[in-house]
């Protein structure tokens, strides 16, 4: 159980970091801010 929790946390953290890196460190070119998320915030 404890191990499983560690694995889930690891995956979530990885997902969060990848998301932030994609958003700020390597933003896709001309993503045009589609799909309702204008990167407003």
């Amino acid at each position: 159980m404890y191990i499983l929790q560690y694995i889930i946390v690891g995956l979530i953290a990885l997902g969060a970091i990848v998301y932030l890196l994609k958003k700020y460190a390597f933003p896709a070119k001309d993503q045009g801010c589609g799909d309702g998320d204008c990167g407003c915030h």
Binding site: Q5, K23, G32, C38, H41
Partner: protein, 704 residues
């Protein structure tokens, strides 16, 4: 699966285009952007018959196909590019029965492109009241088109419109005005050089250069410039465009003389009566000020009930997770990272919804144009345009749409100055920070017999500070920037309308959704990373915190709870985030902050609203008692001076820092895109952040 056709909605601004779009598609719509540019693209699906669906594209409002802005060039783009997947099978041109003359200008241009077109005459329900009669048969005959009378507001004529769209193949595509009569020789040569192309399409491609500059064209048209025929100077082309407009109006005026009859004696209307009051030299300004006051009071007062409720609900959820779920790192992440982070987003939904509600009502009712009118003379003095008021007001929601809203400012210098100063206005991302700090450091109590609370007044003061700084910077920029001003200004004054509930609702839902989804993802991700950094560390002081603290306080009779608090705070201090925070501390201490606030400020440079979520995460790590964010902040003690960390001096200093600092990556990106250079966002970022630091420094040093 039935067949699907493309329908483009085109029309002048203020013709009820959006209302018709909402009528046709309901909530079955998607708002996005055109690829590569930040022009809003609204699409929706409308079921015409059991077997035929329409893919409806709501094009930006435009007065003509002579483009002078990015929004307008999207319209021309869509209509010229036959290979695009958005190319319409049928164009539905919307006009307003009271402004038919002007609306028909655009219609005659679209007709010249030989696209099947339907003319919709909207607001037909007003005809009787305004004593307007129309000869529809004559209009259909002279314009070679189908005419449909509609009232989007009253939901009349929509079925007839759908039927007309279904029968689009029977529409006559012959032009109704002979535009080439303005220079027959030139157009003849054009026709000879490109026998396969529609002559008007060629004309548009040639003249776009005059007004707009580069737009992507079809490749076959690109060759035109190299072609061996007489090339006209910009000035000549501009003269021809003027003449084209004259020719079109001659046709329209002649037609409407026969087809349209308005009984002028009935025309004494609401407009002039309302305008006399709302544009009055004294009352006009007082009313505008009163409306602003109402908005701020509403944002502060109405939203406090749902906000308190949300705040405590998340605190309860967090402590429920901690006590009920099996212990382990995931439970900790949930209770200390995810739930408080989520709470930091959800709590601001009421305020954002209220703000957008007011903005939508002001726009829909036609009052916004009156504000522009009232403010133009003053704004001009500061190097802005009256039209800068709309960006400055919508900047109270978000600087990004505000920067985009500068596009209809004709003068480049006025537009650039507006873009540069807009981020000073108080956007909704600052609101979370303001609200929580004001709640902590500004005393309760009120003036004017309990109507205006000190806290609401402070909030209003911050909004005024934002506007004031924006306008003052504009004045400075106007003197410093070496750009010539032309000072063109043309604005339509739309009729007053009672805002349509459905339109307002859709705007509020759309904008709130985009805040929750857009900001939410970032806040969530940052909360998770912060939790990770705050709950892990290296070195003996972190790993052995338990024993070390117990040994240190062995002589003193501390309760178990007090000991646990000491252990938690030592762990936080020596966690990864503790080290980062201590690194920043020297820079933020003169402003009255500790290292935890320092962390929150640094993470706010991604987006401001991260501030509250960050503090919520940092503070809840290690404490088992889940409390509301506000109570937790109130209990923080200044590590050096003692006393509450969030006191009047440090609170004001924080408020000023957030009022001035440029903490929004997305805004910088959009400014780069709109000004086409990194120079402007770089200047903006540096100047604003320097101002913020010194303002906060001065405030803390003077007040403490």
């Amino acid at each position: 699966m039935g067949k699907s056709i493309n329908v483009a909605l085109i029309g002048n601004p203020n013709t009820g285009k959006t209302s018709l779009f909402n009528r046709l598609t309901g909530l079955n719509q998607k708002v996005g952007n055109y690829p590569g540019i930040t022009v809003e693209k609204k699409e929706g699906i409308c079921k015409l018959s059991p077997r035929l669906k329409a893919h409806i594209l709501d094009l930006p409002g435009t007065y003509s196909l002579n483009t002078s802005s990015l929004d307008e060039s999207v319209v021309v783009e869509t209509l010229l590019n036959r290979n695009s997947k958005d190319f319409p099978d049928v164009a539905v041109v919307i006009s307003d029965v009271e402004n038919l003359k002007r609306n028909l200008l655009l219609f005659t241009q679209i007709k010249d492109l030989e696209i099947p077109s339907i003319l919709v005459i909207n607001m037909a329900d007003r005809m009787q009241r305004k004593a307007i009669t129309l000869d529809i048969d004559l209009l259909e005959e002279e314009l070679n088109t189908r005419v449909v009378l509609v009232s989007a507001r009253k939901n009349q004529g929509i079925d007839q419109l759908k039927k007309a769209i279904i029968e689009y193949k029977s529409l006559n595509t012959k032009p109704c005005v002979n535009a080439s009569s303005i220079d027959p020789e030139y157009f003849d040569n054009l026709k000879k050089a490109y026998p396969k192309q529609s002559i008007y399409k060629l004309w548009l491609v040639i003249t776009q250069d005059v007004n707009f500059g580069k737009i992507d064209r079809n490749r076959d048209l690109e060759n035109l410039k190299q072609a061996s025929f007489e090339v006209k100077s910009e000035n000549d082309l501009k003269k021809l465009q003027h003449q084209e407009t004259v020719v079109r109006y001659q046709f329209i005026n002649g037609l409407l003389k026969k087809a349209l009859n308005v009984d002028q004696s009935q025309a004494k209307d609401l407009r002039s009566r309302l305008d006399r009051i709302l544009l009055h030299k004294v009352w006009g300004y007082l009313i505008f000020f009163a409306i602003l006051l109402l908005i701020f009071q509403a944002i502060y007062d109405w939203s406090s009930y749902p906000m308190d409720w949300i705040d405590s609900a998340f605190a309860k959820a967090s402590s429920w997770a901690q006590t009920t779920l099996p212990a382990g790192p995931f439970t900790d992440l949930l209770a200390e990272g995810i739930i408080p982070g989520l709470g930091g987003i959800v709590i601001f939904i009421p305020q954002i919804a209220i703000l957008f509600l007011f903005i939508a009502i002001l726009e829909e009712s036609g009052y916004m144009s009156r504000v522009v009118f009232l403010m133009d003379h003053i704004m001009k003095k500061f190097g802005l345009s009256g039209k800068s008021v709309v960006p400055l007001v919508s900047g109270t929601a978000c600087a990004i749409p505000a920067v985009m809203a500068t596009r209809n400012i004709e003068d480049w210098k006025e537009r650039l100055v507006t873009i540069l100063v807009v981020p000073f206005t108080t956007c909704s991302a600052r609101l979370p920070v303001y609200l929580i700090i004001i709640g902590l450091v500004i005393p309760e109590g009120s003036v004017l017999g309990g109507f205006l609370s000190y806290q609401a007044l402070t909030l209003m003061g911050l909004y005024l500070l934002g506007f004031g700084t924006a306008i003052f910077s504009a004045w400075v920029l106007n003197r410093v920037l070496p750009i010539k001003r032309k000072a063109f200004f043309v604005m339509e004054m739309p009729a007053y309308k009672v805002p349509m509930g459905k339109n307002v609702l859709i705007t509020v839902v759309e904008k709130t959704k985009s805040f929750v989804l857009g900001a939410g993802k970032i806040i969530m991700a940052i909360s998770i990373v912060l939790w990770l950094l705050a709950s892990h560390g290296i070195g003996e002081k972190f790993t052995n915190a338990d024993e070390l603290v117990r040994a240190e306080y062995a002589g003193q009779s501390l309760s178990e709870d007090e000991l646990n608090d000491k252990i938690a705070s030592q762990k936080l201090e020596y966690s990864f985030i503790g080290y980062i925070g201590k690194g920043i501390e020297p820079a933020v201490r003169p402003l009255g902050y500790d290292w935890k606030i320092g962390i929150a400020i640094v993470s706010s440079f991604a987006a401001r609203e991260v501030f509250v979520g960050t503090l919520a995460t940092i503070y809840s790590v290690g404490s088992d008692e889940e409390e509301t964010i506000k109570n937790r902040m109130r209990a923080e003690v200044n590590p050096i001076l003692g006393g509450p960390l969030f006191n009047f001096a440090s609170g004001i200093s924080l408020l000023l820092f957030y009022a001035f600092a440029m903490q929004c990556m997305s805004t910088l990106a959009i400014v780069k895109r709109e000004t086409n250079s990194w120079k402007w966002p770089a200047i903006q970022f540096t100047a604003m952040t320097v101002i913020a630091y010194f303002a906060a420094l001065a405030a803390y040093q003077l007040l403490s």
